[in-house]
Amino acid sequence: MNIRLIKDKLAGSTMLILTLASVFLAILVGWGLYYKSLPLLEENSVWDLLSSSVWKPSKGEFGFFAFIMGTLWVTGIAIVIALPLCLLCAIFISEYAHPRLRKIVVPVVDLLSGIPPVVFGVWGVLFVVPLIEDYIAPVFVDYPMGYSVLAGGIVLGVMIFPLIISLLLEVFSAVPKEMRDASLSMGATQWQTVKFVLLRKSKPGIIVSVVLAVSRAFGETIAVLMVCGSVIMVPGSVFDPGYPLPALIANNYGEMLSAPEYESALLFAAFLLFVIIFLFNAISRIVLGRIKRKIE
């Protein structure tokens, strides 16, 4: 056989092994976290762990309810803030804006996505927390606290702007130009075209974008940890402090080495994040891939 062909085959099988190994990594991460959380799962039922809000590591009681609620509050606030703004911004960029303006806005959004989480956190501490403490919270509650789930939600909302916008722009560009032209030629205004053609046509894509943004928000750690207050309680209002799941891991992971049960509990939290984000991502990426293939 020709030496060049042998080289080609050899390189091929090496690369195949590398590819398989890297895909296997995803499974390995999930399995590793599951394996480590087994000791905890053997002693408690999953339902008890998720629904109890008693967190006393020293007594071996691990209830994740408060942390799960903290995560849900922060994520919910972030989506409520980010989605309308991003939807309007994406419509503006893709339908209304002059190409020259688009060339300014899109790179700025890209740059925003490159800012490290810890810088968002510092911004949150310097700007968002005082803003809430001095101006927003005093209007609603008696003892205003800047470090709250609202602060976390605002910081997180700004953090997921770039992700949502880039996904939405991709979804909008999948709507054929002919459809818009048909609508406009029937005498519809630009806004009517957006409302009845663009948004209706891209509804599945918008839902998928939201799911992806939610899963990104779920896992964000440092920025949220810095502004949420880290008090173990189920938040009752947006001005209460919270303690999201990733923050729990980040805050305690270094010191848990002495207690195997504690480690198991924290890795169960990581496993929980892994499973939720894995499912969300896999499903929405498959749907997004379908949408893309339709146009091609």
């Binding site: 690369m15 895909v23 703004l85 956190g121 994040l273 896999a282």
Partner: protein, 267 residues
Amino acid sequence: MVFATVIIVGSFFLIVGTIVSKGFPALSWEMLSEIPSGDFYMGGEGGILNSILGSLYIAAGSSLLALIISVPIVIYINMYLKKSSWMGNLTRLGYDVLFGMPSIVYGAFGFTLMIYLGMRASLLGGIVTVTLLIIPIMVRTMDEVIRTVPKELFDASYSLGATRLETSRVVLKQVAPGILTAVLLAFGRGIGDVASVMFTAGFSNDIPKSLEDPASTLPLAVFNQLSSPVEEVQSRAYAAALVLTIVVLLISISARVLSKRLSKNKI
């Protein structure tokens, strides 16, 4: 709509503005060129050179490692597999999912793995964990670039009798700017991430001398200093955040400019 766009674009400038206005007064040459002294976190002398270098080591090491791993993967799924191959699609899906994984999951997994292997928090541990984190970014970015290569280029190479391996060299030359962008993006992500290196790289006041030494990173320095009760130390955190922001912005801007400039000569 204009209002929404203004808010979003404005939030970027608001963040950068806040960091600059708070960080700039605390920034000094001493901060950039010295390692921290013993009571640095109580307001003592010193700088954050250890964190700056630690971050650079980790980001550079992991970018290099991730590049070596990702290029063959991207070549394999694009050149060796058919377009509709289920394996290629599964791999792409896998990387999309890994791309969405939060860095804290990588951090926790990496740390567990290190304990299992009997390793201590070290520069090497940090590099490996960050490599895991940025491989998905590289693979996804490069995959997108390679897909834009015209089919005719492949055909021309094949028709001259080149094997798939030889053709991939032609293709790699064609997408070199895209690969550079991917590396810079991954580098930027690697230098800014904290949750993944928090436990795996450890923390140290010295500049790491070998792969086994623990290394401090810039984001971790920001995080640690900010939680200090001393006001002077807090203002140093702002300055460190400013340094980090400048580095990351420079990298992402140059990634975009370079990819535009280099792709001018493309077919």
